[in-house]
């Protein structure tokens, strides 16, 4: 405790919990003390001044009731740090005083329960900073030394002993040793607990620092992806727009040859766009841990339809028929980006490696506790010896490189990683020059 004057709400809740625990523990202590007193009194083995002891127990009960009432009032309202500190000091001090008096009037150093002081010094060391703990320990050492001196060294002590109901001690030296042992235990315990507390706090700070660093790195990374996506796709959108303006004749009539040449430029521009999409997906998949993917309920029909719409024009330009079929209301609990990544990359490949006048079909279905996604093309196919390599990063088949120059070889590795992240599996069947079909199975939940 110590620091700025206002306590933030989470620390306040923690402090409230500690106070509640204190008060509860004190009730338990009061019951324990009462039981011990009754036992001691009834067994008539002890010649203590039980009146005083019962009174002290009563005071303990009264004090704790006071604390409980006060706690009830401050629970919701805001105490400043100083006021909270004072409340803790009052509790700790009254605990020490009452404990001391109870022990003193029930045998002092002969009462083994004197070791509850060790427990109290541990509590003090946990709550207060080391400087405050030092003062408490010093006070205890002084008080103990004073009373030990009085009790065992003077006539005045004999008077006190009478009041305290102590039997004369046989070996004074023993008591002194006992007292020394107690005091050194207190000092060592206070020191040890303080050191442990400091270590724990330091560890906590280190963890918080690492966590903040991780969070800001994460933010920097996603900021980077955002920038890259925006800066690459934006200009391309403009370029595509200008091509379209020219081809539609908005800027004036163009010669046929000009139009054909421009169409070639447009084709490569569109390729570039898909390549950029692949690379951004790749960068994202590489950088994320699985735990980051949030899942929501997705309708297979809708997500497939969105992707089909996105690729419709591209398919048309290539003379490829792009179709899909999926019943409505097939739901899968998955991450939307990952599912989009899977579908779009598979369609990109299918369109890229198909000949004109062929068909690419996307199907969504469900079976048991899985949803089934099928992307099928009638394209160049994959040779059997290459089938096991197609999911490797940067791998492109021989035929693929022949038919289309542009391509990263990343698409399927991205798809595989996405499917793995969603907890699904995939299968591929292919026949050279006949076509390829990719089957994705995803768990519904």
């Amino acid at each position: 405790m110590g620091g700025s004057s206002k306590i933030d709400s989470s620390e306040y809740t923690d402090l409230n919990r500690v106070i509640r625990w204190f008060i509860g523990l004190r009730w338990a202590a009061a019951v324990g003390v009462l039981a011990a007193l009754v036992f001691g009194h009834v067994s008539i083995r002890y010649s203590f001044n039980f009146t005083v002891l019962y009174v002290l127990t009563g005071i303990l009960v009264l004090m704790n009731s006071g604390f409980a009432l006060y706690y009830g009032r401050i629970k919701r309202g805001n105490l400043s740090r100083k006021e909270m500190g004072i409340f803790f000091h009052v509790q700790i001090c009254s605990d020490y005083v009452l404990l001391f008096l109870l022990i003193y009037f029930s045998g002092f150093l002969n009462n083994p329960f004197i070791f509850y002081f060790v427990f109290h010094i541990m509590l003090t060391a946990f709550i207060f900073p080391s400087r405050v703990v030092f003062y408490y320990v010093l006070a205890l050492v002084l008080v103990f030394s004073l009373f030990m001196g009085i009790e065992y060294g003077t006539d005045f002590g004999l008077f006190f002993r009478g009041l305290a109901g102590l039997r004369p001690v046989e070996i004074p030296g023993q008591s002194v040793l006992f007292g020394l042992s107690l005091l050194t235990t207190l000092i060592l315990t206070a020191y040890l607990v303080t050191r442990i507390k400091i270590r724990i706090v330091e560890r906590g700070k280190k963890i918080e620092f690492e966590l903040n660093r991780y969070k800001s790195l994460d933010k920097a990374k996603s900021n980077f992806i955002l920038q890259v996506t925006h800066e690459l796709r934006g200009p391309l959108a403009a370029v595509k727009g200008y091509h379209e303006m020219i081809l539609k004749g908005i800027t004036g009539n163009i010669a046929e040859k000009t139009g054909d040449t421009l169409k070639k430029a447009t084709r490569r521009t569109k390729n570039l766009l898909t390549i950029i999409d692949e690379m951004i997906d790749y960068a994202y998949m590489k950088s994320e841990d699985e735990v980051h993917f949030t899942k929501i309920e997705i309708d297979m029909h809708d997500i497939i339809q969105n992707n089909i719409e996105y690729f419709e024009n591209l398919a048309q330009e290539r003379g490829i028929k792009l179709v899909f079929s999926c019943r409505k209301n097939i739901k899968v609990y998955a991450n939307r980006d990952l599912l989009n990544i899977i579908i779009s990359n598979l369609i990109t490949n299918a369109l890229r490696y198909s000949k004109p006048d062929s068909k690419v079909s996307v199907n969504g279905d469900e079976g048991g506790d899985e949803v089934h996604l099928l992307v099928r093309d009638e394209g160049i196919g994959i040779e059997e010896d290459e089938l096991e390599n197609i999911f490797e990063e940067f791998y492109r088949t021989r035929k693929a490189r022949e038919i289309e120059r542009d391509g990263t070889g990343l698409g399927l590795s991205i798809v595989k990683k996405a499917v793995d992240s969603l907890g699904g599996r995939l299968a591929v069947y292919s026949e050279l020059d006949k076509g390829t079909s990719f089957h994705i199975y995803l768990p519904k939940t």
Partner: protein, 123 residues
């Protein structure tokens, strides 16, 4: 037949030029603004039937997606189509669903798709 007014708000001049020209070719009247502030002022001047709003504006103080809320508050009857070069949710630092727009479109968009969407919300 009355030509419909469309207001394009985008910080990319070329996007304004290309999207504007392509939509004009399809029969719309186009107005444009290069910042959210300018765009909001134009709404009262030109009274658009629909707004195409880019949601980024990285260089500017007011981001497009914040503008959508502002515009919807003052002109709830004008449909807003939000568009962006960003096509993956993981790239955003806000939720797509939070954008107060009728639809969210990725740039580049095929012109016929765009026209289809515009007509859908003008009806």
């Amino acid at each position: 037949m009355d030509k419909k007014n469309i207001l394009i708000i985008d910080d990319d001049k070329d996007i304004i030029e290309t999207t504007g020209a392509l939509l004009e070719y399809e029969g719309f009247t186009i107005h444009s603004a290069e910042s959210v502030e300018e765009g909001v002022k134009m709404i009262d001047l030109v009274k658009p039937d629909l707004i195409l709003l880019d949601i980024m504006f990285p260089e500017k103080k007011t981001k497009g997606f914040e503008a959508a809320e502002e515009i919807k508050a003052s002109h709830p009857d004008i449909p807003i189509l939000a568009f962006s070069a960003i096509n993956r949710e993981y790239a955003f630092d806000f939720a797509k669903e939070d954008i107060k727009a009728e639809e969210f479109i990725n740039k580049p968009v095929e012109t016929d798709k765009l026209v289809e969407l515009i007509n859908k919300y003008l009806a």
